[in-house]
């Protein structure tokens, strides 16, 4: 694999990485035919982000032949390569990213002014495919807005604020801080901001709704959007379904998928997720009601290159059932999840969790033409970051 980023795009890449660092601890790198995908997910799997840089973003882009390559690197290491964005802008002329498979290393070489070469060799680990399923078209509510508006809105809330509730009606959007604890409510300062639809470039609301999500993770995207002056689009369907925020331009697309709190009851977040997997059946048995709670009940739209499952295997019939099964069992499983809340909050061992959660990806098969599901990733639909 060889990618070369030149000029101003180095800064864009750096900012994307800093944005992703706000989500999770690891950077998942996957060079695909349609571009380089950089992804991250948080530990509770309630926030996911992906930046896809098209081949045109690079002055040179070549991916490993034959097999698909995927790896993950500690995000802090990658951040240290692109540490100071301001200096990057001034001194770095291009950045080479090369794969050194023999040594399990990804080499970042910064070609700076005056012939200075900075080489960073970062070790990577093999990883499973990380992709969230989401369908923007199925969303009943979507907006597009200048990032400045969102940045200004978010400025009204203290930096420590975890969650916000966004309520939409035909003409307006309200943003409020979310206080979950009864005891805190009497002491907490409540802030509410009301935005008119005029302020948005695009404002479509098919259903009046409220959704609550974690603000912290959003800030990463806003910083990126504002510095690149890209409008932010927001897609939302209903409480419990994740909200998708994206920024796009001709050579790049960034998507942030954040879990939202489901309506009414507020289960104490992802603890239930952890409890779930501990009780789940071994990886091979993917199809059971418990697991459905992790799946987003949406048809996929993204058909990326399929890859071999690292651990578990899924039979085709099973996967083909999944999307519909989701719809039906979702309410049931939501309740289940809430019951699970009381259980131990320990997170399951990584490997098991990973294989259950992100399951397998279908190998290319004739069935691909009949069903849109090729990759699945799961994101708990109605739990959130543990604060």
């Amino acid at each position: 694999m060889q990618c070369v980023v030149t000029g101003g795009n180095v800064k864009v890449l750096a900012k994307a990485i800093h944005s992703l660092s706000r989500i999770g601890e690891e950077l998942y790198v996957e060079p695909q035919k349609d571009g380089l995908a950089l992804r991250s997910v948080n530990s509770s799997r309630s926030a996911y982000a992906c930046f896809l840089f098209a081949p045109l973003f690079f002055s040179r882009y070549s991916i490993p032949n034959g097999k698909d390559f995927r790896c993950k690197i500690a995000i802090k290491s990658v951040q240290s390569v692109f540490r100071s964005v301001a200096t990057l802008e001034k001194t770095v002329e291009k950045c080479h990213i090369e794969l050194d498979e023999e040594n399990d290393r990804l080499t970042f070489t910064l070609h700076c002014k005056h012939g200075l070469l900075k080489t960073h060799n970062l070790s990577y680990q093999d990883s499973e495919s990380l992709q969230a399923m989401f369908d923007k078209d199925a969303c009943t509510t979507n907006f597009r807005v200048n990032p400045r508006v969102l940045v200004d809105t978010v400025a009204h809330f203290p930096p420590s604020l975890e969650e916000v509730t966004v309520t939409v009606s035909d003409e307006r959007m309200w943003v409020r801080n979310y206080v979950e604890d009864e005891t805190e409510r009497s002491k907490a300062m409540l802030t509410e901001l009301c935005l008119a639809s005029d302020e948005f470039d695009h404002f479509v609301v098919k259903a009046h709704n409220s959704f609550t999500f974690c603000l912290k993770e959003l800030r990463g995207l806003l910083v990126f959007a504002e510095s690149n002056n890209l409008p932010v689009s927001m897609y939302f369907k209903e409480p419990g379904c994740p909200v998708v925020l994206s920024v796009t331009d001709s050579v790049m697309e960034g998507n942030f998928v954040l879990a939202t709190l489901s309506d009414g009851s507020s289960p104490p977040k992802n603890k239930s997720k952890g409890a779930h997997t501990q009780q789940s059946l071994p990886p091979d048995d993917f199809m059971n009601d418990d697991m459905d709670s992790y799946l987003i009940a949406m048809d996929t739209s993204v058909a990326s290159s399929a890859a071999e499952p690292p651990a578990s295997t899924l039979t085709d019939p099973c996967t083909s059932k999944l999307p519909e099964a989701n719809h039906k069992t979702r309410t049931h499983s939501e309740e289940e999840e809430e019951e699970e809340v009381a259980d131990g909050p320990d997170r399951p061992p990584n490997k098991k969790f990973r294989s259950l959660f992100f399951g397998s990806v279908l190998p290319p098969s004739p069935q691909m033409s009949t069903q849109p599901v090729t990759t699945q990733e799961v994101l708990a639909s109605d739990s959130e970051d543990e604060s």
Binding site: T153, A155, P158, S186, M189, L190, L193
Partner: protein, 283 residues
Amino acid sequence: MRFRGKIVDVACLNHFTRVVTTISKLTKTCVLRLNPDKLFFVLSGKVANGGVGMWCELSQANFFDEYQMEGFNPENNEICLEVAPENLSRALKTVQNAKSVKVKLTKKHCPCLTVSAELPTMSSISRVVTHDVPVDVIPTRLWHELKEPSMPDFDVSIYLPPLKTIKNVVDRMKNLSNFLVIEANMNGKMNLKIETDLVSVSTHFRDLGNPPSGDGASQDGSPTRDPHSMAEVRVDIRKLQQFLVGQQVNPSKSMCNIVHQSVVHLILLHEDVSLQYFIPSVA
């Protein structure tokens, strides 16, 4: 009990915000006292506060374009609310560019001071932001604790050197000792001293000037004090530092009164705000 105030002028809003921010740096919680003419931020010098007392007085007409209040009852036409000034400060800071800011006493999930503002936007419809700052209403039986502290019988009254200078000195002294001695005399001299086993440091200020006898001389027919004799107070250095850190604006007048080995009373006067701060002596 009702209260409603509106600030339209940008400079007034800015000034008010700075006052509230200064208060928020001095204490985590205080009492906001409202009467038809003035607002007070009060911290009574109880043991719980480390004996530190604060009294800040603002004239409402200098800040609010509209100001209406109805107190507890006609005899006690005042409102006393316990509030965390930091919340209020945060709310005000976010609305600095508003067309107008309203502050109201409301009852939401609990009694609140609601700060609401209309923010200018590119579109025709303004953005409306509301901050509900929770408050506790203080019952009338406790109002006696919130009276303006009486001017103590001080031994020395002296104008302070520039606050920034004192702050620099105190910041460095804080690294060496937990306690600081402030001493001054009626001849314009003030010293800040620290003493530990290893080191003693003192900073001397001269020609500071003393407020005229009407304001500041020793009272009650005691024999005229020897102008060179020093009165001193030993205070917890962190309390003094906390006072200095919060000061964002240079006051038009700043002075302190010292009651020998008892309390130091710091007074800052701006055009429309006065702030008094009492730091007790420690043994």
